[in-house]
Symmetry: D2
Subunit: 337 residues, 4 copies
């Protein structure tokens, strides 16, 4: 049995709670949030005994084995360090922080403490992408030559969200940078980024973009490209392709049903599933299950602190490339587990 505390009970924190409750080996003892009044009914319905505004209560609770950090990004690094020092295993939502240096600092503390840290790149646990990764690893497409990722949200976030998001590369494309490393099994050594605000020009006034294409060079010589848009009106567009010397493997969008209607107008299928909660339902459940398994089995997590760090480094390089109009090389000096 593992006893868990949840730090931050917004949409994603609540989702993790539901997935944890599916597991008979898990007990959720406490939830902390900056405000708890509105959470009381919810916590009761989930039989969670402790509700607090102070996350340190969770760290001081000796019964708690692991914490989930689902608070705003700018609080992650500090909480990670304190949790690690309190010897709690840590699941932290992505990104670890907005600053590579801060992330590095936090990872060092985690390493010294010897606790597990899993970063919330949920897409690694999607059955489609997992299968692609597995096929590539087993050599089904031979040596990988070209990676293509399309990742487009169904609707743009509010301008308020944009302001504190860290920018498209750090907030959105960071998932794709992680996926690129994961499926290719090779580090990204250079990026070249193009971006624009084509959906909403106000985004540009805030110093951000809503449309981007980033080319990638991998350490093994392969090439890649990621395209992002904040608004695909037809639904969450999440596709992946790895092309290699022996073939190509693709993962397409998921749909609610296989139903097709053919009339005089044409042949119509379902749109892709709406957004991440619909598309990544299984992935969210699986990433939590996997984290629990890693603790119980003393095995490695699938998505480590180092994975979080590298994705942030790439995101920062992409941002720099976009701003300078030039390709940017990426150093991969420090590697943590």
């Amino acid at each position: 049995m593992i006893t868990v505390g949840m730090i931050g009970a917004g949409r994603i924190g609540k989702l993790h709670v539901d997935n944890l409750l599916l597991n008979p080996q898990i007990k959720i003892k406490a939830v902390s949030d900056i405000a708890t009044e509105h959470l009381k009914t919810w916590a009761t319905s989930k039989s969670i005994p402790v509700l607090t505004t102070n996350y340190e209560d969770l760290l001081q609770d000796s019964e708690i084995d692991a914490v989930f950090i689902c608070s705003p990004t700018n609080t992650h690094a500090e909480i990670i360090e304190k949790a690690a020092m309190a010897k709690k295993h840590i699941f932290c939502e992505k990104p670890v922080s907005f600053s590579v240096e801060e992330t590095l600092e936090a990872l060092k503390v985690v390493e010294e403490a010897g606790v597990k840290l899993q970063v919330g790149f949920n897409r690694r646990f999607d059955p489609n992408f997992k299968k692609v990764q597995n096929l590539v690893r087993k050599g089904q497409v031979g040596e990988p030559h070209i990676l293509k990722i399309t990742s487009r949200d169904p609707e743009p976030p509010s301008l308020d969200y944009v302001r504190s998001s860290g920018g498209l590369f750090m907030d959105m494309m960071i998932h794709d940078f992680d996926m690129a490393r994961y499926v290719m099994g090779s580090e990204i050594v250079e990026v070249s980024a193009y971006g624009n605000a084509l959906i909403n020009p106000e985004v540009k006034e805030l110093g951000d973009i809503d449309t981007a294409i980033v080319s990638l060079k991998f350490a093994n010589g392969a090439l890649g490209v990621i395209d992002n848009s904040r608004q695909a009106v037809y639904g969450y567009d999440q596709r992946l392709e790895v092309f290699g010397s022996k073939g190509v493997v693709t993962a397409d969008n998921c749909r609610a049903t296989t139903v097709e209607v053919a009339t005089v107008e044409g042949v119509v299928q379902d749109k892709p599933l709406y957004f991440f909660l619909e598309r990544y339902t299984q992935a969210y459940a699986e990433e939590v299950a996997q984290f629990v398994r890693a603790i119980l089995d003393h095995s490695a997590v699938i998505c480590s602190g180092n994975d979080g760090l590298q994705a942030e480094r790439i995101a920062r390089a992409a941002q720099q490339s976009y701003l300078t109009g030039k390709p940017v090389k990426i150093e991969h000096g420090f590697v943590v587990n």
Copy 2:
């Protein structure tokens, strides 16, 4: 809150228990089975307080509002009648019985008792087929002219199972007869059945078949056809098509992933999901949720006792057609709710 008792804890009974436990409005108080020793650990892990070999214990328990009948088919009718007289709402696995007369008798008792009876035609709750039914009902394909159902199992049952199954039409195609009525919104008035034992000739020696095609005439003049096989080596083949004056709507098989691999050998996709537990996961959850909702809201069940009765009548007519080599007309005299 509803308190439930489970009669019969085989594979399907246990599946219903899991789905019931997802619902915070449900409490499972008791499980009965002919043998309980092997069920103790399981019942404890599910926090089910009562485990008994006598299903009548459940009927006499005044706390229990509803029972699920998941025992062998030849026990259904008797249990339904006793449960109805004990004023329990009833969810009964299909078929209600092997005899239309017995089913009719049981339904009369249910009607008099004024309890709800839902029959376990789980496929009505599959998102694909539900969407087809809804589109047809809304007139998206105009007047329905032709119905086509393909329903093939991935592997044949044991000869032992075959012996007590009631035959392919009553055991397997009965699902498709129900689906036919459901999506077409019209009664089947005549069937013409062809069958053979092509997978295993021993099946024929037992008086049964493993491959069948049944043509249908509907009350509204439309035509239909169902094909069944006990062994589709590529997986559970579950397809549906309604063709009408304004177009056609189809539901295709479901696959575990959208992954495609293209090599010199060809382009390969996932096979259909393996069998009913994989394909109808959502449907099983939804049929239970819907039954609970019908009790709580005092609303009609989606799949009534009459639906069970009509499907059995059609199955019996198909069997007769197969045996006589002639089309058989179907009477729809008594209709219960």
Copy 3:
């Protein structure tokens, strides 16, 4: 080099002329039709020297090696006999005649004359269906158990056409009966037909139907089903499926492009190709090329007089089954080459 004469220059006769002209080994010397005035410009543009209202002119022309019979069905048998006696090889549009006896008579004359006779079941030459046939023959799906053919026209013919068509089974489904024999490699020994006039009730007043489902029993024990509709508003629906002990092979509809458009409304693809001229363009060219090759190489035709005869026998049995409401067995006594 082969010199050809065309008997009947309607839509299909002209199409064959165009396909013949693609072949440098073919010379078209003469065309006959009941009226020729409107054909003069056309014949000149195709460099066809002789245009006549008397098809016997073609039979008496010693330069002509082969004739194409594209006149109305009720003239086929007589022309076949005369052409055979004149020692011309014969390509005849389907059906050979409206009467099995008449067809049988004509085939005997052909056999005695020792000329080649190919019947125009163009679908055998469609690349999709040819591939299915080939895969089945090579055992890719093991022993065939179930055949399914869907064949629906995009728009119904005129009532005038219906009057002289010989009825849906002889005019339309005859193609599917031939396809069934072709892909299954086994004779049809029994049919059970359901039909109705669901598109236009006036069709029923003429003694015909516009919607039909026919179940099939094959000599090898396999089962099959064909569904026909005279009006699929979304285009020409031509699908085929052979299910067997080792798998299933399907041929789907063809579309003009692979283009998909995804918007808020859904994901839209092209409709199936409109009708037989679009769908079977390649098949029409190939059947003519194959006939020419059979003459030049002294090899067997792909679709023989016997194939025409058997399809007619099945069509007649289906008609009888529809009228009597009972399955009808089919005799396969006389077999010609």
Copy 4:
């Protein structure tokens, strides 16, 4: 009627001859090639009266209205100029030349001569891509934001070919640069190229690459990406996608048949059509038909000299970007018709 001369009778020249012969309004009077001995039988079979080693014979023949230039690229510019001065309409294979300056010079001569010049970007005439272009132009996907082109050959050319090809950007990706301008309806103003020799390292020793990804900036603010590989073992991979404010339109690969085989191994479809002759059969026929129409109707060609020039400018910029490791801006000063 138009009389045509063919300059260069290699694979593509012969293909154009076959397509020209389908058109009753075309007469092919003469063919020139550096060697003619091996062409005699072919020319006779096509009824081409004149065969010469001197292409100037064609230019001096006053009966000839138009010439097709299918000789090696390094001869194109000179022949174009001479043909234009001889007042012949010109169809020239891509690229116009290996040097933007030379192309520019040739285009000026064409403009002064007032003859038509069509450049052989055959893919504009592919029904799939034409439909995409048309849908984008009509606003079906709103404002275009992202363009994606995948273009991969099934097998690499010989090293000899690579040596004289002008490099991957000028020889292969030039098609995609043209397609990008065509479907987006906006000029490319900057490119950023990544390349590598992943299939055959010897290609790099020759100063060329076999794998490339090029990011694009369009004048209207949209972004794009093209990926190329010289070896897709599963066939000719030719896909196109335009994503915009109202949706996305994609064109997928074409296959020989729609046949699918499902067995225990998986579900297998046809591979993409093998190479350009298979995939672009219709496109090649249509580009020639369109050129003839433009001459007869005095209308504009679909793919002009300026289109050839701009594609070369972009290819040169991509080459420069690859060599310098930096994005390169593209000037669009001179525009010819």
